[in-house]
């Protein structure tokens, strides 16, 4: 066999792994409810593919080949687990796999997403679980991104999958009545993954760099599977708007560039267009939601690329709605900053005071950065210096740290650069 044929076979195996894994896991796990077993069986099937295809050539239908091998592994597993040979389970599996036509394996990924984000599963592990099970990301990579020890992450994932199996968590799209609440959990899990990827602005952290892309992939997938849900389009739009700005977030030297100073020409125009289309699609349904509001706020910010100015009026109104809807301290803080643009720093500080009672803000960096910024604008330099100190202490990104340190230093010399 030619070297290039081996390479092609290997490349095919890897491509199929990348694109079909989620679908195959979903299909195998959906009937048995056993995610871990499905993953194991599929891993072995992939290993077999990587060993055999370069030797024997790629099968005509790679997905069906993998499914057949995985099914054999699962049968072996069942036989070893049951003394009686596991007839019932085997019959159930035969029924499932009998459904598979020669060409298309039914896409059960939506059901898998709902299973991974089921309320019975600990909220903190839903996003990592979703990333591993649906996208095949490895535990160590996910662990670094979520700032957890790899062993801890692996352990929690094992427990979550066991929970799915033992508690009988269903693999299905929830009833109409439950759908909004359950869908929100799926969206939150996807957004949590995006947020972890977003933290790495420069794209230099391998573990994080791909997460934003993976989250957007899931967002797009969801929009194909649930095209009539406005919040699905809202989330997709939000992520695309944010990701579009990545090229402008750091200077060539790696310095932090705040939103207001970003070079709009560097923003990814085609991504913004896709975001706009998604947002339009969402608003067609006439049902407002958290992600649509956040996307609309992003849309108002990037409008600067066309008009050269930001409509703070619109942004404040959108934050008003977001605060009413979610009551989240994050929204309150961002609203305060937007209000300051409209009515001055004193008004912003007053709005910010609404959050000061919340115990969570004690270690919430954006609160202190906002407070520092607004205090410095009102000339309250001592208070600003103190707030910058804490904001710096709470910041893990060196580029943002440096930026805050510069602004703090500028308080002394009285030459505060524009935000």
């Amino acid at each position: 066999m030619e070297i290039s044929d081996r390479d092609t076979a290997l490349a095919t195996a890897e491509t199929v792994a990348r694109h079909s894994r989620g679908k195959l896991v979903a299909f195998l796990a959906a009937r048995s409810g056993d995610v871990a077993a499905a993953e194991d069986a599929l891993s072995e099937a992939f290993a077999a593919a990587l060993a055999l295809w370069p030797e024997k050539g790629c099968p005509a239908n790679p997905q069906a080949w993998l499914l057949t091998v995985a099914r054999r592994k699962l049968i072996d597993q069942i036989r070893t687990r049951h003394e009686d040979g596991g007839t019932d389970e085997l019959e159930a599996m035969a029924a499932t796999l009998g459904e598979v036509g020669a060409d298309e394996i039914p896409d059960r990924r939506l059901a898998l997403l709902f299973a991974c984000t089921h309320p019975a599963i600990d909220a903190g592990i839903r996003s990592p679980l979703m990333l591993q099970v649906v996208l095949g990301l490895d535990a160590a990579q996910i662990a670094s991104a979520f700032l957890l020890a790899p062993a801890t992450m692996a352990q929690r994932l094992v427990r979550a999958k066991a929970k799915i199996r033992l508690a009988g968590i269903p693999f299905r799209i929830p009833e109409r009545s439950e759908l909004p609440e359950r869908l929100e959990m799926v969206l939150d899990a996807i957004y949590a993954a995006f947020a972890e990827g977003w933290i790495d602005a420069a794209g230099s952290d391998l573990a994080r760099r791909e997460l934003a892309g993976e989250a957007i992939f899931l967002g797009r997938l969801l929009s194909e599977m649930l095209p009539d849900e406005p919040e699905v389009w809202g989330l997709l739009a939000l992520m695309l708007y944010a990701e579009a700005r990545r090229p402008a977030r750091r200077s060539d030297e790696g310095a932090f560039v705040p939103l207001g100073l970003q070079d709009a020409a560097l923003w990814d125009a085609s991504m913004i267009e896709e975001a706009e289309a998604a947002l339009r699609r969402a608003s067609g349904a006439g049902m407002i939601g958290r992600y649509q509001l956040e996307a609309a706020i992003q849309s108002a910010h990037v409008e600067r690329r066309r008009t050269g100015a930001v409509s703070w009026n619109a942004i404040v109104s959108l934050y008003d709605a977001l605060v009413t809807l979610t009551g989240s301290p994050v929204a309150l803080i961002n609203r305060a900053l937007a209000l300051a643009e409209l009515e001055g720093a004193a008004a912003g500080l007053q709005a910010l005071a609404q959050v000061s009672g919340d115990p969570r803000i004690g270690s919430y960096q954006p609160y202190w950065a906002a407070r520092a910024e607004l205090l410095s604008r009102t000339g309250a330099h001592d208070g600003a210096r103190q707030a910058y100190e804490i904001a710096i202490g709470l910041e893990s990104d060196p580029a943002v740290k440096q930026y805050l340190e510069k602004r703090q230093a500028a308080l002394e010399t009285g030459t505060t650069p524009p935000a």
């Binding site: 903190g124 700032l147 957890l148 020890a149 801890t152 004690g362 270690s363 202190w368 100190e389 804490i390 904001a391 710096i392 202490g393 709470l394 910041e395 893990s396 060196p398 740290k401 340190e405």
Partner: protein, 115 residues
Amino acid sequence: MQYLLALYADESGFSKMTPEQQQQGYASYMAYTEALKTAGALVGSNRLRPSATATTIRTTNGKTQVLDGPFAESKEQLGGYYLIDVPDLDAAMKWAGRCPGAQHGIVEVRAIWAM
């Protein structure tokens, strides 16, 4: 729950920095300490004198052996610590991530074994 954040770094790195960089280094730690205080998480913290000033003592079979220098020769040496009180490991990890020590060295997070 209490956690010890043990800071390891290449000691020789500090003297290679310009006075400005050293000043910036101090400032970073001060800001971090201040943030911990404000959050009510700081129990204690200290910088340690260089590992060359360490003395080790070991007693085996009734015989005491005293040596100059640290316990182990390593690329990174223990340079300081933060003792923090936070709800759980997740919170401890967040603080470890913010610690300047994580950027130029290693931060080891260990739970205190309450007896």
